[in-house]
Symmetry: C2
Subunit: 339 residues, 2 copies
DNA sequence: ATATTCAACGAAACCGTTTTCGTGTTAACA
DNA sequence: TGTTAACACGAAAACGGTTTCGTTGAATAT
């Protein structure tokens, strides 16, 4: 077990000062060639690597970014993290991941833990509880301290910061339009409660498409699941009662459950009833039939978020200008609709 | 934008020394009640929080743990991370996630980035390329420096460190036995190449169960996929040619693909052909029919890994004793087999 | 009146860097 | 011979804490 070697160790061994060693390793003009070579050779020999913590303390930059998300066992967030990680890594940053588990308190605690010097900035997606409460003081505190924040997907407009979202309304609108164009007449929506910003936007898009059509929108064709948890019974009852010929779901799971149920009833997909979900995850791809979805491009979203955050972190200027990047969703056509 | 306040600021404002402030905030006996109250009140008012980096530098503990895994868009790893994160967080640690993307080089680079003071220890699962190469020098270097490492799932026995695995061999053995007990006679295995430690163990369990049976094992009933990538054609050809009545797959995706294919051919699951996969992810749960799997208990694995790592980090003793924790897999019975 | 003790606080070292600002030596110049 | 400039290096401050070891003044003991 050979402990890490420090500048001081090299200095002592070579009988020069610490500053000389530091400069020599940075190839400073100030130091003679002889000394530089001597120091660099010694450093290489003993595998010297500067201590990140000391450097962080010195220049007040940790090269860490904090990512706070509600859940990680969730395909969308997972792809976002991958996007963040890839991009951040390429720019020399590490990613600290914290899970709020949809809890306001955990979100607050996580942010406090990280906000005391551990990170240079945050990338986050709000927990459902936070969106429900509408309390964003923890975000305000952090931004007030001058720590850059990028909000993605589940955002709030009450905080001034950079944001990255996909156009959920447009995605739902296009999906619903697709149904209409294919001659579907009883188009249902299975969603979650409105306090989730994304569900709200998707509902809006669905509503708009139907209103624009000759058949108009009908409140009773919307099933609002009270929580993120699956409630298979609710879906069954709803589908049994309403007998839609097309269903838009705000996630994959609702859709797959619905498909399984109607298949058991003997309906054909997509002839008798068509399905479109959100999130282009494994489930959609390998479902039977495969599920048409509105793809959210999580990886791209993560990359954009990371880019915006790091740019802000590294820009000296204290510009107080924030932008919201809106990504376009894509309809990935699979066998759960006619084509 | 109010910048963070430091001990020095408080000291200046209250006209006491920095040491007094530090002690007062720690409720030291050395300091008079008056002073303590004054300091603490001031600190609370200005929302003083000690700088994590400074503390890290001082006591050479970062309270960060580095997690290096091959992939994050993968249900198993995702649950492991959740287990790690939950446990680590409860003990005041943060989790830095790095992705090797199955690449040896990235694994090395990631470890080097973190090993210079950023973390107190590593939890990792080897990339396939690393296992293929069999080069573990980057691990050796880290352990030689005295940085604790916990290996999980994809491990190597060439490194002395704590390990957490599930008994993959047993899992495959039990699954195969299940098929045998249900009267299946042509039991196939779809796996990946042997260099992946887990695939190797699973193949071993499959082989052992068949050898113990009267029918014996048959090399030709094993399909080895050259990479982790899906190759639907290979699976189809194999199933067409071999016509097994039961298939064990080393992951969910192979199984779901196989199921979809045989269903198209008109076979009934599980009567004509039964399936068991590995990894209890969303896919298994929502597949049609739902897939029986060998559950790997990723979250538990993550928690155990984190516990072992943090215990080692916090133990002063430099014991050189390492343990390998073997978790028992569980067969989760669903509709892809008879029951 | 002197020595001893103790409470309450401050100075300074330290963690490992970076960086500014000297400073001593030598060579070039007038 | 005295001045100057360049060169090569070191001392020290700084980042923000913790911690050890004084130091001071007053109270108590002798």
């Amino acid at each position: 077990m050979k402990a890490k070697i420090t500048l001081k160790d090299i200095a002592r061994e070579l009988e020069v000062s610490i500053s000389t060693v530091s400069k020599a390793l940075k190839n400073s003009e100030e130091i003679s060639r002889d000394t530089k070579e001597k120091v660099q050779a010694f450093a290489k020999l003993y595998n010297y690597k500067p201590n990140n913590i000391a450097i962080s303390l010195k220049n007040k930059r940790t090269k860490n970014i904090g990512v706070v998300i509600p859940d990680i066992v969730h395909h969308f967030f997972t792809t976002v993290i991958r996007g963040i990680e890839k991009y951040a890594n390429a720019r020399g940053y590490n990613v600290i991941v914290c899970l709020s588990e949809e809890s306001f308190d955990k979100e607050v605690i996580n942010m406090e833990m990280l906000a005391n010097g551990s990170i240079d900035g945050f990338i986050m997606s709000l927990s459902s509880q936070t969106q429900e409460k509408g309390d964003y003081n923890h975000l305000k505190e952090v931004t007030d301290q001058g720590i850059p924040v990028v909000l993605f997907d589940r955002i709030t407009h009450e905080i001034d910061c950079d944001k990255v979202i996909i156009d959920d309304e447009l995605g739902a609108y296009q999906a619903t339009k697709k149904f209409i164009d294919q001659g579907k007449r009883k188009i249902a929506l299975i969603t979650t409660d409105d306090y989730l910003s994304v569900s709200k936007a998707r509902t809006k898009g669905y509503w708009k498409a139907l209103q624009e059509s000759e058949m108009g929108a009908d409140e009773s064709m919307i099933l609002k699941m009270p929580s993120m948890e699956m409630d298979e019974e609710a879906i069954k009852t709803f589908l049994d009662k309403k007998e839609p010929d097309a269903v838009l779901c705000v996630n994959e799971i609702f859709a797959v459950c619905g498909m399984r149920f109607v298949q058991k009833k003997g309906l054909r997909i997509p002839e008798d009833i068509a399905f479109i979900g959100f999130t282009d995850g494994v489930l959609s791809k390998y479902a039977n039939p495969s599920l048409t979805v509105v793809a959210q491009h999580g990886e791209k979203m993560g990359e954009e978020s990371a880019r915006m955050l790091i740019d802000k972190v590294e820009s000296e200027a204290e510009e107080e200008t924030y932008q919201t990047k809106i990504l376009e969703p894509t309809l990935v056509i699979r066998d759960s609709i006619a084509h």
